[in-house]
Amino acid sequence: MENITVKVNGAEISVPKGTTVLEAAHMAGFEIPTLCYMKEINEIGACRICVTEVNEGRGFRLVAGCVYPCSPNMEILTASPKVIESRKKTLELILSTHDRKCLSCVRSGNCELQKLCKDYGIEDASKYDGVKNSYEIDNSAAHMYRDNNKCILCRRCVAVCSKTQGIGVIGANERGFKTFIGSAFDMGLGETNCVSCGQCIAVCPVGAIAEKDYTKPVLEAIADPEKTVLVQTAPAVRAGLGECFGLPIGTNVEGKMVAALRKLGFDKVFDTDFAADLTIMEEANEFLDRVKNGGKLPLITSCSPGWVKYCEHYFPDMTENLSSCKSPQQMFGATAKTYYAEKMGIDPKNIVMVSIMPCTAKKFEIGRDDQSAAGVPDVDYALTTRELGRMIERAGINFLGLEDEKFDDPLGISTGAGVIFGATGGVMEAALRTAVYTLTGENPIDFPEVRGTDGIKEATYNVAGMDVKVAVASGLANARELLEKVQKGEADYQFIEIMGCPGGCVNGGGQPQVAMGIRNFVDIREKRAKVLYDLDASMPLRQSHENPAIKAVYEEYFGEPGSHKAHEVLHTTYVKRSVN
């Protein structure tokens, strides 16, 4: 790659040709602020907060640093008085149509706009007050709301929805001052084919979109002596929760998380990883059954409710390819309210099942049909990682000072196969570990071909004389690409893992928001996934079928994988939906 020399704030630096002003400044140790810019996803240069002075031999002028390419010998000033004045004015203009209700905003403290206002010393937030737009809050979706009074029209949500996820149910409507982000014909989000993935929330710089908060009813259930309140935590939560308390991205806080949940007053602190192991038992069995008995192939995983809803909308002809297994969240709730309730002599009606998920689609999933094994909903409340962070803060728990604690038995016992469910390829690898064992009696552990953050991964394994072709996709635009190949007959996989969010659950829509200034340069998917793979490597048991609690649940309750009882409790059905 050809290099060119530029000067950033007076110091020369050599950068590859094609480098943007923003990237060159970053390499030189100066951060240029951004609001609309998302590398490769939203490079529209629209918000103008990144304006930077450059001189290409014709004197200094302001350009949009996020998209403007460096030229040889360019002089760049990232924070000159003119630059700072311009950015400040941009902020004042954004504030002129913003509701500025920071004190009651869910993003107060980690809002990108709020931080910029502080950084640039905004003295008068109402400097350019005039006519303001006023919007009703859209509460129509199960998992989130939109408050356009806080929207700054950066279009990051629009970009992830249409490009990363290939859905595009939100976009800019109207024009000029009247522009707002919404859906076709001003439909509520709940009426569209939004799949609830929450990637829009994860990238929103402000508090314009957020998950619906269910922390209050959970705290009320905990305070109710009649109720047994159980909590389960998804694999990816332990890899993200620490960020709510200032820990570096990629810190494992499993022990502290368990301790905090206990301090919050949950009666039992269990692990969704247990149900991940259970999923593998059922799904590996389903896979082998379909292979042996000529069932519908490829079998496609059903752990990700965002993906499942996407399949129902966009590939309704392929819902039979979906595994009939409930997701681990739902399997957990179903097992807790049947097997565990019976074992402990608790009426399932008095169990409140709370799940902590890196996911917003889980809020939609708990209300799906055929998700109530004990006659009551398998899961009562699905909270995001962010909501748990808020609960811990609100309860005055000193999270960083907590001693590590362990999950409760028996539904807190899990293997390395369960914990890697939180990363793309993890379900596939876990399934392969058990499927290969079942077919050959051998115990291979590592399947590196299906690891990593690539959007689509493929591998072929020779198992007991049979070639097993597998594929893994994460992010729904990637899923679509893969499935179109399958539909056209260009690929003949037997088993496919699909996760709705890019990189899998570690990068789920319910995980702590990371400022785009960091995300543009750090791969959060990789850092959080490493937590899970390190945990897997450190665990004594790494195959789901070796989990003693899983063995017990089959011996005592389900009989064997795929049994009639297992089907009643652990499996579900799908519907065909249309595209709006």
């Binding site: 249409s162 595009g168 149910v169 800019a172 859906s183 076709a184 014909f185 001003d186």
Partner: protein
């Protein structure tokens, strides 16, 4: 599929749909196809209701929201049909300073629609227009070919009544 915007019941015909599908088939694989498709669709139907946008979305793979975003961005596209009577209120300078803005507001209130829309019974559509060269009569409005001048807000009821009878 519900639209938050109430409008006149859709009366598209099979012939119109066939015509639209032909245009889509012809243009859909070219870059920037959406604008010419929307222009043709509006020629065919006279406006671009949800039913028409759905046909375009289903047959191009372009998400509905993207189409709706384009339609609401450009003033040349309309989500509403023209009514049996089109009321145009001149908001040109002379009429405006003589109070045509108040007349326009009164009409919106009276008809229960915003400018650019059509009443649900298909009777009236309302629009603002630029100077029609009758400044001497300001403020002015037209109902189809009929011109009404030197108006006050109080004249609005009388004019509407004339066409509802």
């Amino acid at each position: 599929m519900n639209s938050a915007k109430a409008t006149v019941p859709f009366k598209g015909t099979k012939e119109q749909e066939a015509q639209l599908l032909e245009i889509i088939a012809e243009k859909k694989d070219t870059q920037g196809a959406l604008m010419p498709i929307l222009q043709k669709a509006q020629e065919i139907y006279g406006y671009l209701p949800i039913e028409v946008q759905k046909i375009i979305s289903d047959n191009t793979g372009i998400p509905m929201e993207k189409i709706y975003g384009v339609v609401t961005f450009y003033a040349q596209f309309s989500l509403y049909p023209k009514g049996e009577y089109t009321i145009s209120v001149c908001l040109g300078t002379a009429c405006y300073v003589k109070g045509s803005g108040d007349i326009y507001d009164k009409l919106q209130e009276k008809l229960g629609i915003s400018g650019g829309e059509c009443t649900a019974d298909g009777k009236f559509s309302l629009e603002a227009c630029r100077c029609i060269g009758a400044c001497g009569l300001a403020p002015v409005l037209t109902v189809n070919e009929d011109v009404y001048g030197r108006l006050t807000v109080d004249d609005v009821d009388r004019i509407i009544e004339k066409y509802t009878a």
